[in-house]
Every structure is written in C-alpha cells, then in structure tokens.
Amino acid sequence: MSGRRIGVYVCQCGGNIGDYVDVDKVVEEIKGDDDVVIARSAMFTCSDATQQEIVQDAQEQGLDALVVASCSPKLHTVTFRDVAKRAGMNPFQYTQVNVREQCSWTHTDDKTGATEKATRLVRAGINRTRLTEPLEPIVVETTPKSLVVGGGIAGLRAALGLAELGLTVFLVEKEARLGGHVAGYGPMFPNDRKGSDLVATLEEKVRANPAITVFTNAELMAKSGSFGNNQATIAIHDGDKLETIQVDVGSIVVATGFDDYEPAAGEFGYGLDGVVTLPEFKKMVDEAPGLLQYKGRPVKTVAYIYCVGSRQDESLEGAHTYCSRYCCTSAVHTALEAQKLAGDLRQYHLYRDMRTYGKYELLWSASRENGSLYLRVPDDEPPAVEKLSSGGLKVTTRDLLTGDEEIAIPADLVVLVTGMVPRDNAELVSVLKLPVGNDGFYNEIHPKLRPVETIVDGVLICGACQAPKTSSEAVAAGLAAVTQSGAMLKRGYAELDPMVATVYADLCTWCGKCRAACPYDAIEQVELDGRQVAQVVKTACKGCGGCVPVCPEDATDLLGYTDAQIKSMIDGMMEVSCS
C-alpha cells in the first residue's frame, strides 16, 4: 500500500466496448487492488453526467489520482485531465487506458480474451498512476514579435495583420522588391483588380507601419531558441556587401510562395515559336496595345492546353500529380480579358476537367458565350502541337464530347495552361526543419483543424508554399497564421506540457550520449558543483524519451513515464488474476 487514493472508471462506450469486453468483470477484478479506493463502470464516461459523478466521488472519497479505461488517449486525455483538475487532483496524475481500440475493436472474435487483456491494461494503468508525481505546466514568457519570411501577397498581408495585432514584425524578402508573383499581374479574377495595384496598396501600408521592418535582398540564415522565444539570423545583401543581424521573435510565418511550372522542351510543342505558358500569355494580354499581338503579328485564334505540369501520371519521374487549382479559372479569366481587346478572337480550350470551382463557375459560363469553345481531351491521349510550313501552329486532339472525333485547330498562339510547383528552398527547409510533403510543398499539422501550424513550434506556414492556392486563398492562410501567432504571443506567456525529460544530476557522468540522441537540441552540458552534467532545456524538450535508453548510468528519465513507472506497468500486465 502506498497510501495513494486512486479512482478507476471503466467505460462501456455504449456498446463499443461493452459488447465485447465484460466491463463489470474488469471492475470486479481490479477493485481490490492496492490503493484503488473506488472502481466503477460507466455507460459513457465522457458524458457530462459521468464527469460530474467522478468529481463528486473524488471529493467524497478524497481521491488523489484517476484512471479512466475507455478510448484512445488521443481522444480524451485532455478531457479527463480537465476532470481531474476540476476534482481537485493534479491533472498529470491521470492515466488514460485504451480498452476500445486495443481490446473491444481488435478482438471482436474473443470476448474472454478481450476482457482479460482489458484487465491487464487497466492494472498497468493503476500501477503507473500509483507512481505519478504532481506536475505543473512549464510556463514560458513569449516574445511579442514575429518574423515573416516571404514578401508576396500572403506575406505582406500577414505582416500587416501581425502589426495590427500589436506585434512587432520583421519581413524578410529574398528579392530586391516586394510583391512576388502578384506584383507582375494585371487584372485578376474575380473582380478584375490589377495584381500590381493590390500589391502596391499593401506595400504602401506595410512600409508606412512603424511596427514593421522590411528587409529586401535578405534571407533567414539561422534560427535557434525554443517555444515563443527564437533567435533568427538574417543576412542582408547590399551589392557585394553582406550584413547579418539577429532578431528575437516569438513566431515565424513562412510565406515563400511557388514557382510556375516550366514545361520541358517539346512538351506540348514548348519551344516552338508561338507556344507560350499561361503566365507569358497573361502578360501579353495585360500589355496588349489594344489588339492582341504576338511578335508584331495579330493573333486571331488561340488554343489552350490545360493541366500542363499538373495532374501528371504518377508513373512519371517527379510527377506533379496534384491539381494546381488556380489555372483553370486564371485561363478562363485571361480568355475573357483577351476577348475584350479589339479583333475577332477565336479561342479553343482543350481541357481534361474544368475546375472553375465556387463563384468562378460564372466566369466559365461567360467565356463560353464570349468566343470560347471547350473540347474535352482524353486523359490518355494528349493533344499534339506542330508547326505548319505556313508558319502557323496546328493542334490536333480527340474531342470526347463529339464522340471522339479527331479535330485539328489551326492557331496563331498555343497557350500551355501551366500550374504551380513547389519552390526549391533547401536552405530554409534545413534552417527551420520545415516538414516537406511528397509533393514538395510544406505540410501543416492538420489540413482542416490546424491548417497553418507545423510540427515545429512557433513556425507557421501560409500561402502557396503549402499547396497551390489562388491569391485570395493565400491571403486567407496568411491571416490564419496571424491569428495563430496572436494566440501564441498576445497573452505574453505560454503553458507547455510538463511531461519532459529530466536528468538525475547525481548519477550523470556527462558522456554526451543523451545530447547526441536528442532531435530537438534540448540537452545542454552544464557545470554543477564542479562536475560536468547534462541538463534538459524544458522549453525545447518534446518528451519523446529518445535520451532515456541511451544513458549508460540510468541518469535520464521521462517525467510521467519514468523507468519505474514503465516497469510497474509491465508487472501489472503480467499479474495473473486470482479468479
């Protein structure tokens, strides 16, 4: 007997657990275990009513630790830590045992076995709980400053948003000017405002804001520190001169954008005179002197080939298998813009699927009634582009909508509707340890619920560096990153999970093995009473436990999952039931 007062609740989860695990039998088995003051089953332990009962039990029985055997810890650890807290216990003296995913759902063919396994797991949980120590969240002060990497439309808007929240902002742009791709665009969908105007307005506001410092010709060279407190080293190029400065920031917003897909020579005739990419064509339309011209010759017929560099066959080396999302609408919008110019323009769109989603669907309809004809191209037989002896171009394709007729289109100009590809930013990836997906774009933690956070604390991503996006989507993501920065930094402090590594300094002989094993640079060498020992930087430690097994002196341990606790759990699982 340790004198602990543990409450154990075993959940039926309706029938999810109860149909296969004999919950009452589990309760019966463990209720006489040492230190178990109360053991009960419940239909839905997470329900408000049962939570309330636990709180009441705890107060009546003077419980000091809690075990709930229910679903995955991913689902309800936080729920029941909160219950423990409300009941006057330390939330870190709570243990969640998973008898749903690990027992009832996995052993539907063996109810006796499932019940026995559940008993063993609950017993392990009780043993772990017996050895828990009260832990308090690690409180760190945060720096109310943000670094934005990338001065395109998303980065500019994010910088402005951060400053409006009252944070100090450093904006780093690799190029000599701000604005990125959008700065070079004329009228953009959906409201025909010029990209150059949008960016100019933003830039003016950014430059005028005293809370924002802009660095152009600049790059992020190094980053150190931990949650809420990072030191960033910025290199600024001035001709041949290189100046480096260091800034302290609480969050880093990465908005490094995309590259346009560059077709290979010969890909859909790329390289032939008159075959251009969508960005090149858009520029021609934006700058056309009243009449659409190519190299001084009037353009009367344009053929578009869609999905160039997007939705590629996965068997191709380095294939871009994703849809680039913006190009259908951009091509349709550009076709409408071209139609506004003088001259009787004929436009043929060779597409695989038109994805002018949402409100942009109206643009597609408008284009069909304004000189654009759409031909559905078979996925497995791409159109062929050739140069005619007359100097013009000819595009040959099958049109699925006429029942596979082969159609030839003589065209003055062929526009390859190119998509977005990830930018090669190997240095930044290595400096920030950015998570890069198989497609080359940066990965968020959760596409729906945590769409701009990364697994690296305080590093947020937004805009087209995380996936192809329209400029409005990029800006929305930028502002989401602003909100997340605000959530981290506006309170002035943050609470971190205390289940981190610890070093028993009296046992440590400083061999450095733990530091070598740590993926987060969270272990440092310090001098203590004249001896060199390891010390954990609590704010940098993620509690992965990587340093524990490598220690030859058993001087490292993980709070909440100490060696003693793990051993006691194994003992609990091995214990044979009396019945």
Binding site: R346, Y348, S365, R368, E369, N370, L373, Y374, R376, T396, D399, L401, T402, G403, E405, E406, I407, A408, I409, P410
Partner: protein
C-alpha cells in the same frame, strides 16, 4: 478523318437565323429527357455546328427532321439554350443549302 475547325458555319447560322449554342456545357439533360429517345442527340449536333463540321451536320439530316419541336429539352436546359429554335435553324440551313431550295 481529322476535321479542321471552322467557326464560319456557326457564324453564318448565327447571322442568318440567330443560332446560338455557346452556353451549352454538354450536361446531356436534353438527350436524357427527349421523348424521341437518344436518336436526337442535339448537344452533339450543335457541337458539330460550333466546330464547323458541315459534313457531320448534313449526315444527321434524318435526326434533325425527326425532332418533334416539343421544347421539353428547352424547358429543362440549365444553360438556357434555345434548343428547338436552333433545330429549326438547322432544318432551314439543310433545306436551303442541301436541297437547292434557296431563298432566291
């Protein structure tokens, strides 16, 4: 046989009889609800016109004339194409050019 696109046919019919199938997005509602069954596949017929495939249009003469002009398709067209009017236009075109019954 590869057909060369020719916007001239649609232009001519637009000018002479107000032919207009630009808004068609090939959804196929017209074919699905046609009381004559799939025999009168107007969306393909109109596409031949838009692409300028005169021979194909002429080869469909039988179908052009089997339409009942009941306007069931037109009532249900989500793109608002005046389908029956267009069919009438094609009849006129075929008669005028195919049977030598020009308007003088």
């Amino acid at each position: 046989m590869t057909a060369l696109v020719n916007p001239g046919l649609a232009d001519e019919l637009a000018r002479s009889d107000g032919f207009d199938a630009d808004a068609c997005m090939n959804c196929g509602v017209c074919s699905a609800i046609c009381p004559m069954g799939v025999d009168v596949e107007v969306r393909r017929l109109f596409r031949y016109v838009l692409l300028g495939m005169e021979d194909k249009v002429r080869a469909e003469t039988e179908r052009v004339f089997s339409c009942l002009l009941c306007r069931m398709c037109e009532e249900n067209c989500p793109a608002g194409v005046h389908i029956a009017e267009n069919v009438r236009t094609l009849r006129h075109h075929i008669v005028r050019t195919g049977f030598g019954l020009g308007e003088g």
